[in-house]
């Protein structure tokens, strides 16, 4: 058990932007929320699942909606406390802790603000350790755990709680609710016992995110060997340094799909193509897939090592393309069915990162 410091928070924001793999929403707003919540309600405590009563109820909490809307309709706070209260009241049990469902993008930080306000600890775990666009794309689905009952709430006091037969149906019901509730909402789902969190969640995600961010911050400060240390920590690799020479974006069925083509700095004959669906999903070097979902593709600004989100990609931008292996908890039967390249409609085989590294 430990208290989160403001310094941790800055590192966590940087780590979360990186783990957003180009998506997940800019954590900037979430950071401001956490700061205000800590000012108003006091510090937040991070705990391991083993420190809690194994039968105690744990609820996830996250923002669901469109990042473009969230930057304009900034959170109230009540959409998050509201969805947690709604689900707790449906279950007839109060939570002993909150947990992020997604450590990657703004959802990394949302539970911290809610936890400060509700006086609950946050568990150092999650179910993705990167950003993914849909609720069922998590290791809980692999473990056969149901996303529902789940709740969606807005800032005005509207709340819905529903049960679904599969996690895929739960995802559709949640999006449909969001469409009617202003596209910037709180969601709570995957209610579990602290004991089950210890068994089925990705452990240590928050600490990993903070450590990753801390190392990336050292890179940004230009510290000696910081880049090597950053890569070592994440078992990551620099795949490509290039400049965006083509960018094609379109929206289909709620997904901002796109393709970005990079040309190597100093070698116009080498190109990398990266396929986007909200997040960066597959990187091809000279036609061959080299990094594939669920492993992480991250664009870092060539000048200042700031992670770049897909919404701000632009012609001529200079980027380093980094590959990070996904959390080891992902590697179990069924992974490729829910988060492999084919789950996103690409006729490409998963290429484990270790194979590449050799």
């Amino acid at each position: 058990m430990r208290e989160l410091t403001l310094e941790d928070l800055d590192d966590m924001v940087l780590g979360a932007t990186l783990l957003g793999t180009g998506g997940g929403g800019d954590p900037y707003i979430a950071r401001l929320m956490v700061r205000q919540a800590m000012e108003d309600f006091g510090p937040v405590t991070i705990v391991e699942p083993g420190e809690l009563d194994p039968d105690g109820l744990v609820l996830t909490v996250a923002v669901i909606g469109a990042p473009t809307v969230i930057v304009e309709k900034v959170p109230a706070g009540t959409e998050f406390t509201g969805c947690v209260q709604a689900l707790a009241s449906y279950l007839g049990k109060q939570p002993v802790a909150l947990m992020p469902i997604e450590v990657g993008g703004m959802n990394t930080l949302i539970p911290l603000a809610v936890a400060a306000e509700m006086g609950l600890p946050v568990i150092d775990a999650d179910s993705m350790r990167r950003a993914f666009p849909q609720i069922e794309m998590c290791v809980f689905t692999l473990a056969g755990i149901s996303a529902s009952p789940m709740s969606v709430a807005d800032e005005k006091g509207n709340r819905v709680v529903f049960e679904a037969t599969t996690n895929q149906v739960a995802e559709r019901l949640a999006r449909a609710s969001v469409m009617q509730l202003g596209m910037a909402n709180g969601i709570s789902c995957y209610s579990m016992s602290a004991g089950d969190i210890g068994r089925y969640a990705i452990q240590g995600s928050m600490s990993y995110c903070i450590e990753l961010g801390r190392r990336l911050a050292a890179v940004q400060r230009g510290e000696l060997n910081a880049f090597e240390d950053f890569l070592d920590f994440a078992d990551a690799r620099l795949y490509f340094s290039g400049k965006i020479i083509d960018l094609d974006r379109r929206t289909t069925g709620g997904f901002a799909r796109g393709t970005v083509v990079l040309e190597a700095l100093g070698d116009p004959n080498r190109t990398m193509r990266v396929e986007i669906q909200n997040e960066l999903l597959i990187a091809f070097e000279d036609g061959r897939a080299v990094i594939t979902t669920p492993d992480l593709i991250c664009f870092l600004d060539y000048e200042n090592a700031q992670p770049i989100t897909t919404e701000t990609l632009a012609y001529g931008q200079r980027v380093n393309v980094i590959g990070l292996p996904c959390a080891p908890e992902w590697h179990q039967p069924g992974m490729l069915d829910i988060v492999g390249p084919r789950a996103f409609g690409y006729d490409v085989d998963y290429v484990p990162m270790e194979v590449n590294a050799r």
């Binding site: 304009e72 309709k73 959170p75 974006r249 919404e311 001529g316």
Partner: protein, 518 residues
């Protein structure tokens, strides 16, 4: 008789002025040191540049100035601002002024309130505007602060609540409060737009003094002309508008410089390198406008959603220090800066700088005494030049958006360092009058208008939505003074809304055109 326009640029170091005719030809130019009270500099630059010019032919005067930017950076002359946000119950989790540096927060932010009002993305009210709360806030501010910044959720698309709030404040307290409205200031992104709106209101006093000084200088020279200030995007607003929207001028310096350089060279698509005493900046112009950086821009430590030109800077300038080393040379990153006029070898000093290298190699002549570097080691000279050439090539490579070779325009006091040819660059152009590129950029600026909102493509179709945005941008440009016959769309950006079904899309369109001359 040709109509003439004056362009004036007040920079951190120099105040430049030019007189330009309708074809873009420079009739007169001047360059002088910026004065502690910048209006003195404007007056003397104006005096120098119009002597010998037919004053009756001058119809317009354009000013680009760093006054407002410096006021923010140095926390000087800023006025206090009451901050009213119309968005509750949304946005309560983040108070106005969150993440502002403490010193400017203290200097600027007065009473704050988040009250009911604002809109959803689709134009539905989040809540009806709480008009009583607006009245209460106005009375709370009177006597405490001279200005109020009003921002509502989705104001760029739905400005009704902001306009109504301004009307109520005016009815209640009249001119005891001056009001800045967010939809006039910034684009989507409530917190950043609110920040920009607060800064805008804090600059009201500075803006009034700048514009009054500008007008007084024009009057003192008997010039009864239309007056304009240049904005961050390289286009104009009237001096009267600038009094209400000074924040829109804070980034105009680099934009004017790049646009001026390109126009002086007669090009609209080119790379521009501006080499000074300490650093070199490279940018790119596409269809006459600088490509903008995608990162959020901080002004004086406050995050805003303005876009500024995408520039890469490195430590390469006329004053950059060169040190011979075992295997060649070490160049920079330190520089003697403007002291190159006394500290370089050629100017009688004792520091080996890139200006000395440039002189020895013949790239620079007519500055200092070339005989002082006649004995320089040829290996040192060639190693330093090789470094310079490589850096220039790398900068150009990194800035270019495609493989197509582009011309490179070299400007600035240190531009002699730029080699005559650069791999990947068509040709190196060194336009006449490049020393006053900033003022020239101001003189040739156009009027513009823009729109930034969320459209739902499934209801009207993409084409109709884009056409609507183009129409609104064109109308806005014409309202700003653009010639309706010559206004054109200068940029269309579509950013699809992620993570939701349906085809919501943020559309940003800008239009610009030459000023309509009566």
């Amino acid at each position: 008789m040709s109509r003439l326009r004056i362009g004036i640029d007040v920079g951190g170091t120099n105040t430049d002025a030019v007189v330009v005719d309708e074809t873009g030809k420079v009739i007169a130019s001047t360059k002088s040191a910026t004065t502690p009270d910048p209006t003195d500099g404007i007056r003397s630059a104006l005096e120098a540049v119009i002597s010998g010019v037919d004053k009756s032919a001058i119809t317009q005067a354009m000013l680009g100035t760093t006054h407002p930017a410096n006021a923010i950076i140095q926390r000087r002359e800023l006025e206090q601002v009451g901050v009213l946000r119309l968005a509750a119950p949304s946005s309560l989790a983040i108070r106005p002024g969150a993440a502002w540096p403490e010193d400017i927060h203290r200097a600027v932010i007065g009473p704050r309130a988040i009250i009911e009002g604002g809109f959803e993305y689709d134009g539905v009210e989040i809540a009806p505007l709480d008009e009583d709360a607006v009245r209460r806030f106005a009375y709370e501010c009177v006597g405490k602060v001279p200005n109020v910044a009003v921002s509502s959720a989705f104001a760029p698309a739905s400005s009704e609540h902001e306009l109504r709030a301004a009307e109520i404040i005016e009815q209640e307290v009249g001119d005891q409060l001056r009001v800045s409205l967010s939809h006039q200031v910034g684009s989507l992104g409530l917190l950043e737009r609110e920040n920009a709106t607060i800064l805008n209101a804090a600059l009201f006093g500075v803006a009034r003094r700048v514009v009054e000084g500008f007008h007084a200088a024009l009057r003192a020279h008997g010039l009864a002309v239309d007056s304009y200030l240049t904005q961050n995007d390289g286009t104009l607003m009237t001096a009267d508008e600038a009094v209400r929207l000074p924040i829109l001028t804070v980034g105009s310096g680099p934009t004017n410089s790049m646009r001026g350089a390109c126009a002086l060279a007669g090009l609209s698509n080119a790379l521009v390198i501006d080499v000074g005493g300490t650093s070199a900046d490279v940018g790119i112009l596409i269809d006459g406008f600088p490509r903008e950086s995608s990162a959020a821009v901080e002004v004086g430590g406050v995050r805003t959603n303005f876009r500024m030109p995408d520039l890469i800077s490195i430590g390469l300038g006329g004053g950059t220090v060169v040190r011979p080393a075992a295997d060649g040379v070490v160049v920079g990153p330190d520089s003697v800066g403007y002291r190159v006029i006394s500290e370089a070898l050629i100017t009688g000093g004792s520091t080996l700088t890139l200006s000395d290298i440039s002189t020895r190699s013949g790239r620079l002549s007519g500055f200092g005494d070339a005989s002082r570097v006649a004995d320089l080691d040829a290996n040192v000279v060639s190693a330093a030049l090789a470094w310079v050439d490589e850096q220039v090539q790398l900068l150009c490579e990194r800035m270019k958006a495609s493989r197509t070779a582009l011309p490179l325009i070299a400007v600035g006091g240190g531009s002699h360092l730029v080699p005559a040819s650069v791999p990947g660059v068509d040709e190196v152009v060194r336009p006449a009058h490049h020393a006053v590129a900033n003022a020239f950029g101001a003189a040739i600026a156009e009027a513009s208008g823009g729109v930034d909102r969320v459209y739902r493509y499934e209801s009207l179709g993409r084409e109709a939505c884009i056409d609507n945005a183009k129409q609104l941008a064109t109308e806005a440009a014409i309202r700003s003074g653009a010639d309706p016959a010559r206004v054109r769309i200068t940029s269309v950006v579509e950013v699809p809304m992620t993570y939701l079904p349906g085809q919501g899309c943020r559309v940003q369109v800008k239009a610009a055109g030459p000023l309509l001359v009566a």
